[in-house]
């Protein structure tokens, strides 16, 4: 190997100098959440399953009309998920509560992107096509997307859907929080604007937390004393109140730690300023110089073409 002490140290000196300009410092992980995002509060005790939100969502987002748009009965027989043609769906759950006539009481639950405060998808996206903006919306920029679907792997709510049947230009499809509409003063997301029972309340996330706490306090008997989305995975812009356990209406039990915290902490501690690769290069270079000393002449030919 043609490595001499001199050119090795010269090389490492250059590499070291480029790193030493700003010494590797490792900051504790910090949330990147916007300071005062919008949010939406879903009160499941108020939802009657009219599916107007599905219809409005499709209309404002130029999506195909929802499946059997006027059906409020048999459509609920199968559990649906948002997919590449619908950003939001309503599902019906029977969780065992009965009314005074012993008839089971349904709970309707809306599903859409939760617009996490520290979204796993945004952290995962290889090209930064997903971003969390100041409105609180998790925005998807199709012009950067390469279609790796890592966002879908990362999402704890299983939200991003994919246009699997588009061979060349498939997109990731998910609720946009009607970002353009809510950026304008007084703008509402399509779904929240149409909800006839005020099951959806749109506003600043902080304000909504106050509203939610007030409802929990004023009607302690009609709610589970928990605001789903206040702390889950570090908090979400969309939050839920419910009278039945959240897991039973397909809102998964999640830790309070933001999903990206561990992977980002590991990545940044190892690779900020590339200190560890440069150090490893140095150590290996030193080994190479040490173990191959005196071999240079002998090995000149034999080494060629080897790795």
């Amino acid at each position: 190997m043609h490595i001499t002490r001199r050119n090795f140290f010269r090389f490492m000196g250059a590499a070291g100098a480029s790193v030493a300009v700003r010494p590797p410092s490792v900051h504790a992980w910090q949330s990147q959440a916007p300071p005062d995002p919008f949010g939406c509060l879903v009160d499941l005790t108020r939802c009657v399953g009219c599916r107007k939100c599905e219809e409005a969502c499709a209309k404002v987002n130029d999506l195909p009309e929802p499946e059997r748009v006027n059906c409020q009965c048999t459509i609920f027989e199968k559990d649906r998920r948002p997919d590449d043609t619908s950003y939001t769906v309503i599902n019906r759950y029977y969780t065992g509560t009965v009314d005074v006539f012993d008839k089971p009481v349904p709970t309707y639950a809306k599903v859409q992107c939760m617009h996490c405060q520290d979204p796993a998808c945004v952290s995962a996206c290889i090209v930064g096509a997903l971003t969390k903006d100041d409105t609180g919306a998790v925005h998807y920029d199709v012009s950067k997307c390469i279609g790796c679907r890592y966002c879908m792997v990362a999402c704890p709510f299983e939200i991003p859907a994919y246009e699997y049947y588009d061979p060349i230009t498939p997109r990731v499809m998910k609720c946009t929080f009607c970002q353009e509409r809510i950026s304008k003063k007084g703008g509402l997301p399509g779904c929240a604007g149409i909800c006839p029972t005020e099951a959806l309340t749109f506003g600043r996330r902080q304000t909504l937390l106050g509203v939610a706490r007030k409802r929990l306090k004023e009607n302690p008997g009609s709610y589970i004393q928990h605001i789903y989305g206040e702390k889950e995975v570090g908090g979400t812009s969309w939050m839920y109140l419910s009278s039945v356990p959240f897991e039973e209406v397909n809102l998964p039990l999640l830790p309070d730690t933001p999903s990206p915290k561990l992977s980002e902490t590991i990545q940044h501690s190892l690779f900020s300023y590339l200190w560890s690769p440069v150090l490893l290069f140095g150590v290996l270079g030193a080994c190479m110089a040490r173990f191959n000393r005196g071999n240079d002449q002998k090995q000149n030919n034999a080494d060629k073409g080897g790795a």
Partner: protein, 399 residues
């Protein structure tokens, strides 16, 4: 230690090669279907299950099994164990082809294949996948650079292009000469760089799943995942060399390389031992052993992976008689390789739990055909390259 690599100069079209061609053809049809009907047309992937065998096998396993390239380079060139040099060339070729096919697999898997260059300009430094992509891209380039001298050795001074291209003979020869001379001086940089890049992305492949703490089964989800991926990649490097060298020497009826392979796997005892300790220790510390007897198929997959892919081959390698018998050594090496293959499949496929939807995923036939086709193509090109370029050790009779 005298050794000389040479082209095999055997007939290329053996029955085995024809079988590979059949698989390549079938895989090509499936790939055409993927680019006309979409990913959904040829795979069983869903919104709940966005990654299947194309990521789990073609990419993750492919990268792991190409680890022979950097582990042998580190041993022979950096740590100066020149005794092992004969295996560095086949290992390098496996790495070159392995990574090339990782990229080809990715091109089939990602939805917008034509956009694969975009990560070079749109950086997300928080994304583990971004780091993996950058490392793989640079490492693949490094691997091709490391391979140039092998091409130069074969064709320097006797470039003979057919037909009109023959006018370029002198020019190509000159390029080869210059490249070879320059590379001879700076190759050490690329060799070290190759090892560094490998350590980076082999470990980061494990970090990929860390962003989804609720979606990977706790038997595999651990903050140690990157370290486990790195140590297992390092551990599988030499067994993979044993595995393919044994197959190649048997296939070409070359002299067995046992005198190199046996001591090589003695190192594996330590490397595999470190991986085993980390894996078992992690299970004990996090208390995930409580899952071991719950009988789910995920748990069973974990037990098979650890028992037959790590502990059994480690115990076999401890035994000197097994290490020095070609059959025993091959079996142990194959088990280690199988264990790492299982680990990658477990982490990316078996252990992946969609939190809200039905969890079932089994690859569609056409999905499997793409994977098999790519593997067959890799083997075919390996065969072509060793037939015409000096990669494998020549037999004693020939040299």
């Amino acid at each position: 230690m005298e050794h000389k690599a040479g082209p095999m100069n055997r007939p290329l079209w053996t029955p085995g090669v024809l079988v590979m061609l059949v698989f390549m053809f079938a895989g090509a049809l499936a790939i055409i279907a993927r680019f006309t009907g979409g990913i959904g047309y040829v795979t069983n992937l869903t919104n709940a299950r966005p990654w299947g065998i194309w990521v789990g096998i073609d990419v993750a396993t492919g990268v792991a099994l190409a680890a022979g390239g950097f582990t042998t380079a580190a041993l022979a060139h950096i740590f100066g164990r020149h005794y092992y040099e004969p295996v560095t060339r086949p290992a390098l070729l496996t790495a070159v082809l392995g990574y090339t096919f990782v990229v080809l697999g990715l091109l089939v898997d990602i939805g917008r294949s034509w956009a694969i260059w975009k990560p070079m300009f749109h950086w997300n430094l928080n994304s583990v996948l971004f780091e993996v992509a950058m490392c793989v891209m640079i490492y693949l380039t490094v691997l091709y650079i490391e391979f140039v001298p092998i091409v130069a050795e074969q064709f320097k001074g006797r470039v003979n292009l057919p037909g009109l291209l023959s006018k370029l003979n002198n020019l190509v020869d000159k390029v080869l000469q210059v490249a070879d001379r320059i590379l001879g001086k700076v190759m050490w940089i690329f060799i070290i760089l190759g090892v560094v890049l490998s350590c980076m992305h082999q470990s980061s492949l494990g970090s990929l799943m860390l962003v989804a703490p609720t979606k990977l089964h706790p038997l595999w989800y651990t903050p140690l995942l990157p370290l486990l991926f790195l140590t297992s990649a390092i551990a599988v490097g030499y067994p993979m060399v044993v595995f393919e060298t044994t197959l190649a020497t048997a296939s070409f009826r070359l002299n067995s390389e046992m005198h190199i392979l046996a001591p090589l796997t003695r190192i594996t005892i330590y490397l595999l031992g470190i991986y085993m300790l980390l894996k078992l220790g992690d299970m004990l510390v996090r208390g995930t052993w409580v899952y071991l007897l719950d009988g789910t198929y995920q748990t069973n997959a974990f037990i098979v992976e650890v028992l037959f892919g790590v502990m059994l081959p480690w115990a076999m390698l401890l035994c000197k008689t097994i290490r020095h018998s070609s059959k025993g050594l091959f079996t142990a090496a194959a088990l280690v390789v199988g264990g790492v293959v299982m680990n990658r499949i477990n982490v990316f496929i078996v252990g992946y739990r969609s939190p809200l939807s039905e969890n079932g995923y089994f690859p569609a036939p056409s999905e499997i055909l793409v994977t098999l086709g790519l593997i067959a193509a890799l083997m075919f090109i390996y065969r072509v390259v060793v037939t015409y370029l000096p990669v494998l050790q020549e037999s004693k009779e020939v040299s």
